[in-house]
Symmetry: C2
Subunit: 201 residues, 2 copies
DNA sequence: TCAATTCTTTGTCGATCGATAAAGAATCAT
DNA sequence: ATGATTCTTTATCGATCGACAAAGAATTGA
């Protein structure tokens, strides 16, 4: 077993692929683009990653494990629903507007206008977005159970509200709206949650 | 002058093109898709519309003149900033979730992940989105001047906030979130504006 | 040393991309 | 009627799409 060793760093190549897909999306990034971005001939890419779609799915997984993982991290690390939501939104803005990096959210913008033959990719990303909405809603429900939020709080609606706002943030960031303005509107949006808070909880 | 008359209805063909682009985006809709959707051989399409990009721009203009024109209509027809914002959001939801129609906003989703050679289309739609944000901000500033909103209201931030939410609504609608849930979150979002209202104005 | 294995390189595959040339068909003005 | 004009049809263009065959190069275990 084990023949000639690979001459390039697979992880490093995957990072470059993630950035390319993040910036231009699944269909917006051609194999020729990847060849040039990764500095690898196409048979080397296919040997290491299988297909363009396989590479894309790995790239999204890498994104979600790092830059795009702010929601998961906020959910895991913050003690209150209030802090989870605000940190998630603030880190979303930071991630979506980082200078010298692709703008917006890879999960939101990498496959919105797709040809029919790539519907599987489109639906896969949609499921990721819906799963994120569900996790936000669940956390708010937990906040109600914990006595952090008023008992009559509609957690699903509030979760939909923040998920919708977060997806909108990605669009705005891609359009070049500066991060200061995005942070300012988050301050407005946090008031909806503050209104549901039980003081001193 | 005036040779053989055109055998098909140009306006009707444009509507079909608008629906195709609305559903699948600029690059997601191929000329072959258009040929099949319009029921016209490609030379007839080129003769009537010039190029795929010209056709797309006309299709977007048609969208904005009808289904996508709710923001403009609300701004023109509603007497208060409060009513403009709510009607705009409610009609956005209705438009984005209409059964049997393409879901979401054509301006938001038709060109997000584009190849480099179609950057012009992408930027053109981005400008449309930014112009919509500006018009919302301007209307809120007017509300402050009219004495409808409290004098210390940050109209730009509030406008950014509603524009962001509206763009997020398009993503959610495309993901299949039912319109009842979207209407519910709008009710939450309207409280941010209600908090800035001067009672009895 | 030498088969077995794996990676790299070169060249190219069929399909599809947007777009058009050329010829036939139908209308106009005269 | 006839020439000018415009639309429709058929066939196809070169470029690019994602993907791979085949051969050479480098490492392994025996």
């Amino acid at each position: 077993m084990a023949g000639r060793p690979r001459e390039f760093d697979r992880d490093q190549a995957l990072e470059k692929a993630r950035d390319a897909f993040w910036a231009r999306g699944y269909e917006g990034t051609s194999m020729a683009d990847l060849v040039s971005a990764l500095g690898l001939a196409s048979p080397r890419i296919y040997a290491a990653f299988g297909s363009k779609e396989d590479l894309f799915r790995e790239a999204v997984a890498l994104y979600e494990a790092n830059e795009g993982g702010f929601a998961t991290r906020a959910l895991a690390e913050e003690p209150t629903a209030r802090r989870v939501i605000e940190r998630m939104l603030r880190e979303a803005v930071e991630t979506y507007t980082r200078p010298g990096r692709p703008q917006g959210c890879m999960v939101v913008s990498a496959a919105t206008n797709c040809a029919v033959e790539n519907d599987s990719v489109l639906h896969w990303l949609a499921e990721h977005r819906l799963a994120r909405t569900v996790s936000i809603v669940e956390r708010l429900k937990q906040g109600v159970r914990d006595g952090e939020l008023k008992p009559d709080t509609d957690a699903e609606t509030l979760g939909d509200y923040y998920a919708t706002l977060m997806h909108g943030l990605s669009v705005q960031a891609r359009d070049g709206v500066p991060k200061e303005r995005l942070h300012a509107l988050i301050t407005v949006a946090m008031q909806s949650l503050d209104a549901r808070l039980i003081r001193g909880a």
